[in-house]
Subunit: 355 residues, 4 copies
Amino acid sequence: MNFASDNQSGVSPAVLQGIVEASKGVAGSYSNDQWTQAAVAQLSAIFEKPVQAFFVATGTASNCLALSALVQPWHSILCHSQAHIAVDELSAPELFTGGARLVLMGDDGDKLTAQCLSDTLQSLPKDRPHNQIPGALSITQCTESGLVYSVEEVRALTEVAHAADMRVHMDGARFSNALATLNCTPADITWKAGVDVLCLGASKNGALALEAVIFFDEALAKDFDLRRKRAGHLVSKGRLFGAQMCAWLKDDHWLTLARHANEIALALEQCLQPYPAIQIAWPVQANELFAVIPVALFEHLKAQGVRLNDWLPNSVPQALDIKADHLAVRFVTSFESELAEVQQLQEVLAAYFAS
Amino acid sequence: MNFASDNQSGVSPAVLQGIVEASKGVAGSYSNDQWTQAAVAQLSAIFEKPVQAFFVATGTASNCLALSALVQPWHSILCHSQAHIAVDELSAPELFTGGARLVLMGDDGDKLTAQCLSDTLQSLPKDRPHNQIPGALSITQCTESGLVYSVEEVRALTEVAHAADMRVHMDGARFSNALATLNCTPADITWKAGVDVLCLGASKNGALALEAVIFFDEALAKDFDLRRKRAGHLVSKGRLFGAQMCAWLKDDHWLTLARHANEIALALEQCLQPYPAIQIAWPVQANELFAVIPVALFEHLKAQGVRLNDWLPNSVPQALDIKADHLAVRFVTSFESELAEVQQLQEVLAAYFAS
Amino acid sequence: MNFASDNQSGVSPAVLQGIVEASKGVAGSYSNDQWTQAAVAQLSAIFEKPVQAFFVATGTASNCLALSALVQPWHSILCHSQAHIAVDELSAPELFTGGARLVLMGDDGDKLTAQCLSDTLQSLPKDRPHNQIPGALSITQCTESGLVYSVEEVRALTEVAHAADMRVHMDGARFSNALATLNCTPADITWKAGVDVLCLGASKNGALALEAVIFFDEALAKDFDLRRKRAGHLVSKGRLFGAQMCAWLKDDHWLTLARHANEIALALEQCLQPYPAIQIAWPVQANELFAVIPVALFEHLKAQGVRLNDWLPNSVPQALDIKADHLAVRFVTSFESELAEVQQLQEVLAAYFAS
Amino acid sequence: MNFASDNQSGVSPAVLQGIVEASKGVAGSYSNDQWTQAAVAQLSAIFEKPVQAFFVATGTASNCLALSALVQPWHSILCHSQAHIAVDELSAPELFTGGARLVLMGDDGDKLTAQCLSDTLQSLPKDRPHNQIPGALSITQCTESGLVYSVEEVRALTEVAHAADMRVHMDGARFSNALATLNCTPADITWKAGVDVLCLGASKNGALALEAVIFFDEALAKDFDLRRKRAGHLVSKGRLFGAQMCAWLKDDHWLTLARHANEIALALEQCLQPYPAIQIAWPVQANELFAVIPVALFEHLKAQGVRLNDWLPNSVPQALDIKADHLAVRFVTSFESELAEVQQLQEVLAAYFAS
C-alpha cells in the first residue's frame, strides 16, 4: 500500500525497454542522437507546433532553468505559496536566475485565480529601481493540492500576466495526470491558453529520470543550450533522455499511465468518503488526495504498512479547521498503483473503525 | 571504426542489467534507496576508508559541485590550461563556485609538475584584498592528453598545494583507465597521495550516466547534499545511480572494462607506429592516443568511415612542429572498442600509404 | 517643510568639515589611512569592545554584505515583511548572499516579537535538503514604522534566533535615532543583547555617504575585506569614510543630531494630534511619524509645499481601517529639520481645518 | 616625494568646493538632484552626443557593472593579462557578470594590437555549448603600463571586436591623462573609434570618489539603473557624485589636472634618463613611468622617503631582462605632484650615484 509519492514508483516496462534498446552501440553524444531528435519531433506533433524541447534529469533543473530563460535577476516570479519552486527546490530558483525573487500568493491549497494575481500585482510597490519588477508567473498543473486548472482558468491567469508584461511558466510535473482529466488537447491547455514554457514531467509517471523543458516561443529558447550546459545538465549520453521520451509518448503511453493513476485515486476517494473521521480536503481531480485525519489513525495506518506522508497544514482549505489531535495527509497514486492496494486499505479502515 | 569519443559508446550489459533490475517497484526517493547505500558502502571498501559519495549525471556537475565545496568566490583554482573544467564546461565552474577564477598552467598537453605549480604560485600577485587567493588545485587523471600521473607525481603536486593551504581536486573522468595502468590501489593514487575529493567518472567507461563525487575528508562534504540539491542534481529516483554504481563496481567490472579499452589503445599505437607520416604525440598510457597527421590523411580516414576528432594544436608536445598541411587528432578507445576496428583501420592505412 | 525623507537632507557642518580637512595631501589608499584607523578605534571605545568595522557608501551594500557573512546560499533570512532589505534593496540580498531567501514575518508595521519568530520557525518545513535552513534574523532599529525595540525585546528575539542556530543582523539605518530615545548604551542594545553584526547608518543623520558594518564577533568578519572588495565597495580614498565617521562620533555629535530630529518629530506629533481627521498610526518614538489622512488633505499639503510621501497601506496597524478616500503617509524629520517647519505646517493645517 | 599611486593624492580644491556647496539643504535623493542632472548634460556636451551616464564610487564597481551590461554568463571578456579587471578587482568581474570568464592576452606590458586580438579569437575553441563565446573586449586607456592608445589603434581593435560580434569596454581610470596627451576630442577616442561604454575615472585625478559609466549606445544602458541598485551602488545623496563631476568638468578642470600630472611625469623621465642603472621600460606618455632598477637603489629610495611601488616583472618589455638583484618599479604622478618632488628625487639620485 504505497500512497507516499509517485516518485517512489518504478519505471514503466515500455519506457525501460526504450532505454535498453538505445543502450547499445555508438551514438552521437550531447543530444546529437536519433532518439533525442525523434523525441523533439514527437513533442512538436503532439503540441501541434514546432517546439524547442530540452531534456534534463530533475524537476528542479527543469523548472529553474526554464525560469532563468524568462526573468532577469531584478525580476520577481509570482507563484503559489505552496509551489514546488517555493517549497521544495531549496535555492535553485535563485541560483539559476541569478537572484530573482519569488513572490508568494494563495493562503491555502486552492488554485490561483486571475483576481488573486491582479490583486497581488496591484499591491506590489513599483518604485524603480528599488522594487523588484514582476517578470514571470509560475503555475503548477496539477496544482500542489492535486487540482486541475481548466483551459479558461489558465487563460484568465495568463491574460493578466501578459498584460503586466510577464511571461508564463507551467510546472507540469504531473501534467499528464491533468491532461488525462481535462477534455482538451495538450496545445489547448498550454500555448493556446497563453503558456510560454512548459516543464513536462515524466519521472513521476513511468519514466526513470526525465523532464522536458518545452518552449512554445522560439525566441525564449535562444540560449537555453548554454544555460543547460553551464548548469551541468547536458548529459553526454543524451539517448538516455531521448529514448525514454520516445517510449513514453508512443501510442499515448503517457496518458494511459496517467489515466490509470487517476482512476486509482478516484477509487481511493470512494474508499475514504464513508468515514466522517476522514475529511477530504478537495475533490480528487487527478492522482492525489489530501485529507485531515486523526493522528491516531495516521499512526495506525503506518503501522499497518501504509506508506503515506503528513503534509502542510495550510495545504487544505482554510475552512477545514485542523483540531489538535488531527493532521493533514497526502495520498498519491501512480501508474504502478494497484486497485488491490486500495482494497487492502479499505480492509484496514473497516477494521479500525469497527473496533 | 569509432575512435571519436568514449562517451559515444553504449552501456555495458552488466550495468544495464543493474538498471533494469532496480527499475521495478517501490523504493525510497532522493537517494534513500538500497542501491545508493550499497554503492557508497562498496566505494568505502574499495577506497579502504569510509567515504562520503554523491552521485550525479554529468562530469560537469561532478567537477564543479566538488570544486564549490573546496573554494570561496575569492579563491582561484589552479589547473592545466587544457583541463576539462577550463575548456569544456562553459562557465559552470563560475556558476557553482559563485565566481572563483581558474588560473591556467601548462603550455602543451604534458602533465603538470610540482615545479610548475610552485612557480605559478610564486608568480601570482598576493596583495589582499585585491588579488585572488589560491584555493584549490585540480588535476586530471588520466590527463587531457591521456597520460597517467604516478603516485609520486600526484603526491609531489598535492604536497605543494597543501603547503600553500590549497585543497586538491582530481577530475577522474577516466580514473578507471588510469588505475588499470597503474600498479597501485585506488587509495594509493587518491587520498593516500593527498587528494581531497575525487570525481570518479563511469559514463565514459560503461555506465549510462553516472559520476561520483567522493570526499575523503568528511568535513568537506558537510553541506554537499545542499549544494547538489540547489543545483538541481538530486534525482528523485536515485536508484538510477545507485544501481549503475553497484553493477559497475561488482567483481571489478569497472577495471575489466577499462583494461579492455587500454589494450585496444595499445594495439592502435602499434598499428600507427610504422608510418612516419603519423607522429604520435605521447606514448599511449591509457585509452587515448594523440597524433599529428596530414590533413589529407584525416580527410581520407573520415571518408573511409573512421570516426575521429581533430584536436587543439597545443595538446601535443611543443617540440612537435605542426606543419601547415597537418593537424592534431585524438583517437579514443572504449570498453566497447573491438580489435577488429583497429585491424580495419590498419587495412585502410596500408592501402593509403601503399598508393 | 521637508518631511519626505532624512536622506534628502544635507550634511552636518561638522561632518563636512571633517571631509574637507581630510581631503588634502597624500594618504594611504584602500582604508590604510589614519582617519579610518581612528574611526575603528572610536567605535571600539563606544561599543566597549574591540570591534571589526568596515565602511561603505550605501545602506544596501552595508546590509547585504553583512548578511552575506552570516548565511550560506541555502539559508533563509527571517525579517519583517516591510524591512528595507525586503522592500527597498531590489535583489541585492540575493546577489550578495549567492541566493539566500528572505522569509517575511509581520502583518502590519508593528515590531517583531519573539513569539512571532518562534511561530514562524515552527511553521517552516524542515525536510533537508529540500527546504531552506533558517540562517539569520534581521531586525531593524528603528523599525520600518519608526518604532524602537527595547533591550528586552531585542534580547528576547536574539535568544530565539540563537537557540535556532541563527545569527542576528541589525539594520541600524536609524540606529542613532533609536539610541537617542533609549536609556541605554550602544553596547546594551547590540552585542550585549545578542546582536552579531550592526549596520550603523550615518547617511540619514548628518553624513554625506557613510554606513558602517560592525562585527562584534571577530570570526564572522574574517573574510569581510574580500567580500567588500569583490562587490566594488572598497573605495580608494578611504579617508572619505574615516573622516566622516570621526567627525560624526566626536563629542557625541551623532547623538546630538539624532536627538534634534527626534524632538522635531515629537513636536510634529503634538501638531497633528488635535485633528481627528489625522489618525496617527503609532506613537512617535524616534524621527518618523506614520498616519492615515484624507487624500484631499494630502493633496492640499503638497500644494502648500509640504514634502511628504504616501506609504504602504499595511505599514499602519491592522486596526486602522483605511477608508477609500484616505491613505497612509510617512513624515520624517532629520538633523536639519527646524521647529519653524512644524510651525509652518501647523498654520497650514489650522487654515485647512478652519475652512 | 610621492610616486606610489595617484589614488593616494588628495582632492582638488575646486572639486572639494563643489562638494561643500552641494552639501547644504534639501535635495532629491537617489540621483534625482540638480547636480547629477547637470553632470550628465555636461558629459553629453563634452562627448558630442546624448550619453547615458551613471556615477559610482569605485573603479571596480564602474568596470564590472559596465561589463555586466555587455555580456552574459556564458561569454568571455578578452583583455590584457595585466588589466585592472584581471589583476586588481578580485572576483568582481565574475560576481557582476554572473560568471563570465576573462581571457587574457599580451605577454608583457605593451599595448594590445588588432593582430593579437585576431589571433586570440582564432585560437579559441568554438564548440557550442561547451566553450565560452567571446562577448566583450576590454581595453584600458591609459594602459596598465601608462601607454596611450591612438585613435587608429583603438579603431583597429574595435573593428576586430565588432566583426566578431563583441562589445567594447574602455577602462578609463586614467582616461583624462590619456586625453591630455592625445591630440583629439573625447568623442574621437571613444564612440567615434568604436567604444561602446567608457568607465571614466575621476578619483585618481582630483576627485574624492567618482567614477562614471558612460554608455554611448542607449540600448545597452536600458537596465543599468537596476544593475547599479542591486549591487548597492546607488547612493542616497547622489549629489555627492553629481557635484564632484560638475566641478571636475567645469572649465576643463579635469584636463588641466591631467596635464599637470603628465608634465611632472615627463620631468621625472628626464630626471631618471641619465643613469644607466635605471632602465626605463617605456617612454612616458601620460602620468606613469615603469623602470627596472637595482634592488639596492629601491631600498635606498624608500629609506630617503620616496613613496614608490615595486611592480609585476612582466609589466616591462620582454626584451628587458631583469637581473637577479634588480626589480621592476612603477612611478606615478598626480595632479598634486610638484616639480619640487622631482628635484628632490634628482638630488637623492645624484648623491647616490656619486658615492
